[in-house]
């Protein structure tokens, strides 16, 4: 294990349907707002009425020229705006670009835009724009972001299905811990699904939504007995990670990255694994030098999957975490898929800083009474240590411990 001591988060950027920028996002979190509706973005429906949470029109980053804006995908535009917020807060302008890195969490990120391009050129493929040869790659986002921000240290994508965002945080932390770079930004990228992915996810029984088209606000119900699967939500978040005290100009950190873990189930399927989840939680706690009793708050994966939620509750119980407060950020944002782990790490950090925990929407009849749920209203909370969890299809389990910084 590399040394995780002293790694901190000094900048956050967030873009979700309920809030663009962390001030809006934080307000919406504590108010328990939602923007679930029948989705309208071109390429999202095909004789369907999928429910999800779509972003308002993105506000382009001022770092992007009109020429780049024309060819930047929705995923790219949102990544730039979100990265801009985190970058600016951390004060990275002027820092040695060779010592700054970027890890983007997610794969197959621009599916809707690809479907639109395919549809446009289906009858005349020989006129497909040359830029498609570049833009179909997820790593085009690395090019877009590194050129806009002058990043020269490292940049790559990491794929971990719905754990991608948290995996990016972990990989960025490892990059700083190992000395590859001084500062690394982890970005959970917006997974821009087309109707094809939505149809596939519906067919496999993972996703709720269409049956709630007339009452979209009721569709997303993590940990509730009435849940029927996840509800998609467009989202993106960026976290700036560095060693505490390494840059005099760095702002006061949100928290310390005290421990983390990535554990695999050795299972290609979407099935959750109690053994894998408990292993990830225990390893992250060990690495942080903490016991379960030290954890005040858990931000769970909580997709509202029928078996995923009960397995996760079983993992919390098996790890001795029933005393900790638990809410579900996805009840407010929807499931950001590749972005979720980064968005939820950001939500955890913002709650830690504000000393408050957000409510869990639609948690009217919990699947289990054991966790200390935060239900219909935000509550005050002195959080010293929290745990954020992400799980991805293919047996990918990640856990992240975040600890308040001693003064």
């Amino acid at each position: 294990m590399s040394d995780s001591a002293g790694l901190v988060v000094t900048g956050i950027g967030v873009t979700t349907a309920v809030g663009r920028g962390k001030a809006d996002f934080t307000r919406a979190l504590f108010a328990g707002e939602h923007r679930f509706a029948v989705m309208e973005r071109p390429g999202r429906q095909s004789g369907t009425r999928f429910v999800g949470a779509e972003l308002p029109a993105p506000v382009p980053s001022a770092r992007l020229g009109a020429r780049e804006l024309r060819t930047a995908s929705l995923t790219g535009q949102v990544a730039l705006a979100t990265l801009d917020e985190a970058w600016t807060e951390a004060g990275l302008d002027g820092y040695d670009p060779d010592r700054v890195g970027l890890v983007i969490g997610g794969s197959n990120l621009q599916q809707r835009e690809l479907v639109l391009a395919h549809d446009r050129h289906r009858a005349k493929p020989h006129f497909l724009r040359p830029s498609y040869g570049l833009s179909y790659l997820d790593t085009d986002l690395c090019g877009l972001c590194t050129s806009a921000f002058g990043i020269r240290g490292l940049a790559h994508t990491v794929g971990g299905a719905s754990a991608s965002g948290q995996l990016a945080v972990i990989e960025a932390a490892e990059a700083v811990a190992s000395g590859r770079v001084d500062v690394c930004v982890a970005l959970g990228a917006l997974a821009d699904l087309s109707y094809w992915e939505l149809l596939g996810l519906r067919a496999m029984g993972a996703m709720a939504g269409e049956d709630h088209a007339d009452a979209p606000g009721d569709a997303c119900r993590p940990f509730d007995k009435g849940r029927s699967g996840f509800v998609y939500g467009e989202a993106c978040a960026a976290l700036v990670i560095e060693r505490r005290g390494a840059r005099p100009e760095a702002p006061a950190p949100y928290a310390r990255l005290s421990g983390w873990s990535v554990r695999l189930d050795g299972n290609r399927n979407p099935d959750p694994s109690l053994a894998g989840e408990t292993a990830a939680i225990r390893q992250a706690l060990d690495r942080a030098g903490l016991t379960a009793r030290d954890i005040d708050y858990v931000n769970p994966h909580g997709t509202a999957s029928p078996t995923g939620d009960t397995t996760e509750v079983a993992a919390l119980k098996a790890c001795g975490l029933t005393h900790a407060a638990v809410n579900a950020t996805k009840s407010i944002t929807g499931h950001g898929l590749t972005a979720a782990g980064a968005v939820e790490a950001a939500a955890s950090l913002l709650q830690l800083r504000h000393g408050r925990l957000h409510p869990t929407r639609n948690l009217t009849e919990p699947v289990d009474d054991a966790p200390r749920w935060v239900r219909e209203a935000a509550v005050e909370a002195d959080i010293q240590h929290c745990l954020s969890l992400s799980m991805g299809f293919g047996g990918i389990n990640t856990a992240l411990c975040l600890s308040a910084c001693a003064a």
Partner: protein, 84 residues
């Protein structure tokens, strides 16, 4: 398609792909390099014009012309030959 009409299509494509040139007064002697187009921009501009002309030729066949006027003449001539 006349050279003049083709030139107009090229100008439209350049303005779409390089929006900062919206107010530029284009001339035959302008070159894409001098206008600030990178290699991807140049390919996008030419492909946009080829689609507008419904002219299915390889991009490599458009690499000879040295400026916008020559490109317009070349594409106009090529379209005429293809049309028989």
């Amino acid at each position: 398609m006349t050279k003049e009409k083709t030139f107009s299509l090229i100008v439209d494509a350049v303005r779409e792909i390089l929006p900062e040139l919206a107010g530029h007064d284009f001339a035959d002697t302008d070159t894409l390099d001098a206008l600030g187009a990178n290699s991807m921009d140049r390919a996008e501009i030419v492909m946009t014009v080829l689609e507008e002309m419904d002219l299915d030729i390889p991009l490599v066949d458009t690499h000879g012309p040295q400026n916008l006027g020559e490109l317009a003449q070349h594409l106009s001539d090529t379209a005429a030959v293809k049309a028989g």
